[in-house]
């Protein structure tokens, strides 16, 4: 599903990622762990082509990311849902409007947008907050809104960049349960985190990065549901 082939990324001569090779299969749940500046966010940015690799090649769902034309980048980003530590919600839109925004971009009919958004809001238990604005929500609710927006297009991959970083432990575990639920439905989840409690207490594969290099890969592949299983 995601393949890094000797990928390097440099910023002004400083290597954020160095000769990085990795293969993440469909349906996996992978933790990216390591200190600040280890290259976790860079790795996620490369996947959604917010950044381009300096060297090497990166494939997402069989497509070489750096060879996707600019016009194709929005399609890649619709295939990969992203969750951010700072939520990145539109402050002047309600929860419903934030979640439905990716559907709006696709130009879907209003009734279909309403139906899909309602379903997703129920899944993240936010249907009662649909009309609220982001500044009326708690940290956990904000992150659940962001998760709902990331999954509304039913992407095959979800990238989560420190999704629990700004949350109390209770909310953090709620978010983890939600991500686990998505993974159990067959979605590939790649989550960057500082939170050792969370990463060490769950049996998922862990990739440890230090100074842009992969120093440990537990290879504990705990697929919630591979595509084949899902088809069955």
């Amino acid at each position: 599903m995601i393949v890094f082939n000797e990928v390097s990324k440099q910023y002004d001569g400083v290597k954020a990622l160095a000769d990085f090779s990795l293969d993440i299969e469909g349906g996996e749940f992978v933790f990216l762990v390591g200190p600040s500046g280890a290259g976790k966010s860079t790795l996620l940015k490369l996947i959604i082509r917010e950044e381009l690799p300096t060297e090497g090649s990166l494939f997402v769902d069989g497509e070489e990311v750096s060879k996707i034309p600019s016009s194709g980048v929005p399609h890649l980003r619709r295939k990969v849902g992203t969750i951010f530590q700072d939520f990145k919600l539109l402050p002047q839109r309600t929860v419903f409007e934030n979640v439905s925004f990716p559907l709006e971009i696709l130009g879907l009919p209003d009734d279909e947008i309403e139906k899909t958004t309602d379903e997703i809001l129920r899944l993240v238990d936010l249907n009662s907050k649909a009309a609220n604005f982001p500044d009326q929500l708690s940290g956990g609710e904000l992150q659940r809104t962001a998760i709902a927006r990331a999954m509304v297009l039913r992407p095959e991959i979800i990238l989560a960049d420190e999704p629990t970083g700004n949350l109390d432990s209770g909310s953090a575990w709620e978010v983890m349960q939600l991500l686990a639920k998505l993974n159990s439905l067959g979605t590939t989840v790649v989550m960057a985190t500082h939170n050792v409690d969370i990463s060490s207490s769950l049996p998922h594969r862990k990739l440890e990065l230090q100074r842009g290099r992969l120093v440990r890969d537990t290879k504990q592949k705990t697929k919630g549901a591979s595509k084949k299983e899902k088809e069955k």
Binding site: I48, E50, S70, S71, P74, H75, L76, R77, R78, T82, K88, L89, L90, F101, P102, E104, I105, G107, R149, L153
Partner: protein, 293 residues
């Protein structure tokens, strides 16, 4: 497929959420369109005025009271033989009175005591070329039955000079103002883009295409242009209606804005079109400049 009504809604929301920006853009563009429109009208009017003097008998010879019909025919024959005269017209004392009364029909005091006796008969002479006017005037001055020669060449020359100056200054001012409008659109849209920087970043991250992000800004630019053009054309028309009686009095008998309502419709359409074009190009350049970074 992009849902256009949604993008229009977004554009309208952005305009109303930053009213000071919108007002600045509309005011600058309105001023530009108003002044441009005024120059267009003055150019058309000066052209009409020039055409009026060029197409009228430029030399008028007022005849002595005792001039006979044979003398008039002889003068007309002499002029016709010169080969430079396109038309001659004899205006009798009675005809002169009729024209005088027609021109002053709204001023009964001016017509009450006037009779044909006090008005001179005249010969109005048109030439093919303005340059031949002096020649014809000299011929007429030599005729013994001619009392006075009124020669309009100076008026035409002065008008031509003015008309050309207005046209040149007008073109310069129009170019300057349109360029200013373009730059103001660019700045206002650029400001709006920077205000919505976070929103744009989020849109990109969730997979919005460049056109989805760009279209509301372009619609915003089109709105500024079209609205400013509309207000400017309407105000110019109102001003024309208000000044019409004065203009009619000042330029009695001269249609300085031929088919006036039609000219304003053309002006409105022109300002719409130019406004929309400036809006589109200005916002397109702004989005290219600011969204690519």
């Amino acid at each position: 497929m992009i849902k256009f009504p949604r993008l229009i809604k977004v554009a309208i929301q952005r305009i109303f959420r930053n009213p000071s920006n919108a007002l600045a853009a509309v005011l600058v563009m309105f001023s530009a369109f108003f002044i441009c429109g005024a120059f267009v009208l003055v150019t058309v009017a000066s052209g009409a005025l020039l055409h009026y003097f060029e197409s009228r008998p430029e030399v008028t010879a007022f005849l002595k009271d005792n001039t006979t019909g044979d003398q008039v025919k002889k003068i007309q024959q002499t002029l016709s033989d010169s080969g430079v005269v396109s038309k001659t017209k004899y205006v009798s004392k009675e005809e002169a009175l009729r024209i005088y009364k027609e021109r002053n029909k709204n001023e009964p005091l001016l017509t009450q005591f006037v009779t044909s006796d006090i008005l001179p008969a005249s010969i109005e002479v048109s030439t093919y070329k303005l340059a031949d006017l002096s020649k014809v005037a000299e011929v007429l001055k030599k005729e013994s039955s001619v009392e006075e020669v009124v020669f309009e060449k100076d008026i035409v020359n002065t008008l031509t000079k003015w008309s050309n100056t207005i046209r040149l200054v007008g073109i310069g001012v129009v170019i300057f103002l349109l360029l200013t409008s373009f730059l103001i659109t660019l700045i206002v849209i650029g400001l709006n883009i920077s205000i919505h920087k976070d929103e744009i970043e989020i849109m990109r991250l969730v997979g919005a295409t460049s056109w989805y992000i760009r279209t509301p800004f372009i619609l915003e630019g089109v709105f500024y242009g079209v609205f400013s053009g509309l207000v400017a054309a309407m105000l110019l028309f109102s001003f024309f209606l208000w000044a019409s009686p004065t203009l009619h009095r000042t330029f009695a008998g001269i249609d300085i804005l031929p088919s006036a309502p039609l000219i304003f419709i053309y002006l409105l359409l022109g300002e719409f079109l130019i406004g929309a074009t400036i809006g589109i190009i200005g916002s397109f350049v702004a989005t290219r400049k600011y969204l690519s970074s």
